[in-house]
Homo-oligomer: 254 residues x 2
């Protein structure tokens, strides 16, 4: 049997590592692995507007990206409904992982999951996407759901008992998905604990910057914004669009 | 031989169509076909920030998109250089057409070509991309080159004798590509005739909105901005970033 001092010699570095790990960033372990949920007809700005500063940040610290979809087939952005004007206008994105593989493989230690919105959130076959969000949520440090991605988060149940916001043009349809959520009508974004929701489309950038500021500090966020020549909205209550549509808060149903 | 009146009956609708076509939009034929140049390590915001309002517009009028790359292989956004922090962080986009096929097939009647920037503009093997821009430019109604995409346009010779702007952090390296261009140091974007260039990264959205306003009118641009909850910069001389870096205009070399 080893003497106690020798046991401590072995244990101490581990304990130190645990303590350091817990103290890094905002008291949690360092954020490193970011997942993005992809589904047909997702909104490209929700995804790439959010990824732009993170692409830059990945050149300054270790970040790993998981582009996650139902299958590994490339994901089209064009609405599946017949285009009324006969437009042929869409982009196609290649996923790196499937919902199943990430949900099952707990060695994939996702720290943040980005859930975008888009026309595809209205599709009838969104169940696997919603289920994936519900499945991995307990493993996440952060969920970021801009635009109608908040509707997916609501349907996954992860906004229950929380304050949230969403796209102001799709307000009524989206808040109906979250009867146990307090929906804030005048907000560029809302943070409730480790869940960030954002207003419509371009609000995704301000939302992800708020998240970056929360995780890595405002100086890091400001430096990234300068790098992409972006004038941030730093006031979460700035929202001329909620005002434009004359929206009011929607409290949870009793 | 048909009588003259009968000939006119056949000719008139055609003449009318030509006249209507010429009068539409800004005196040119209607803008319908939009090409996007893709190359490894292009900037996702330059592409998808610009495409977001056009994706929406394609639901309101006929627009066709050509995602054009050297080959049909999916195009990665991650820098090819070894990531100093061991990040694995990139997205992969599927092109729809090749440079060769579009350059050769004149039945592909591109009205606008979007040339994005990004870290990939510094790659040593950008020749096919630059050559493609030079090849198709004479067939275009409009060229839109935000960020360091202006450097590609300059190297293709299409900014010679024009005023332009570009990314303010990459200013020196990019303006060096265009010794016959007047580079405007304090500009969110610059329009010179049918060529629009934009400042860095997020300026792409303001640049494409300026282009949309030019082609389809300010009301259409304002409606699309509302739809994506975007507060535009509508003053092309707004540029705190050119100011931040203390940049001055660079006139063409004699």
């Amino acid at each position: 049997m080893k003497p106690v001092s020798s046991g401590l010699q072995i244990l101490l570095p581990c304990l130190l590592q645990v303590v350091l790990c817990q103290c890094n960033d905002t008291g949690s372990k360092p954020v490193k692995n970011i997942g993005v949920v992809l589904f047909p007809s997702f909104d490209v700005f929700d995804v790439f507007g959010s990824l732009e500063p993170l692409n830059l940040l990945s050149l300054q610290r270790q970040l790993n990206l998981y582009m996650i979809a139902a299958t590994l087939d490339p994901v089209p952005t064009a609405p599946r409904a017949m285009n009324a004007y006969n437009s042929s206008f869409g982009q196609v994105i290649v996923p790196s992982h499937t919902f199943d593989s990430v949900a099952r493989d707990h060695s994939i230690d996702l720290d943040m999951l980005l859930v975008p919105g888009g026309i595809g959130t209205r599709a009838p076959d969104l169940n696997s996407t919603i289920q994936f969000v519900a499945d991995v949520f307990p493993r996440l440090q952060y969920l970021v759901a801009p635009c109608t991605g908040a509707g997916i988060a609501a349907r996954a149940g992860v906004l229950d008992g929380r304050r949230a916001t969403t796209n102001k043009r799709s307000w009524g349809a989206t808040v109906a998905y979250g009867p146990r959520t307090y929906w804030v009508a005048r907000a560029r974004w809302v943070r409730d604990g480790h869940v960030f929701t954002g207003s419509g489309v371009t609000a995704a950038v301000d939302t992800v910057f708020a998240w970056i500021g929360h995780v890595w500090g405002e100086a890091a966020a400001a430096d990234l914004a300068l790098g992409i020549e972006y004038e941030r909205h730093t006031d979460p209550s700035w929202d001329p669009f909620g005002e434009h549509y004359g929206l009011s808060d929607v409290p949870p149903l009793n």
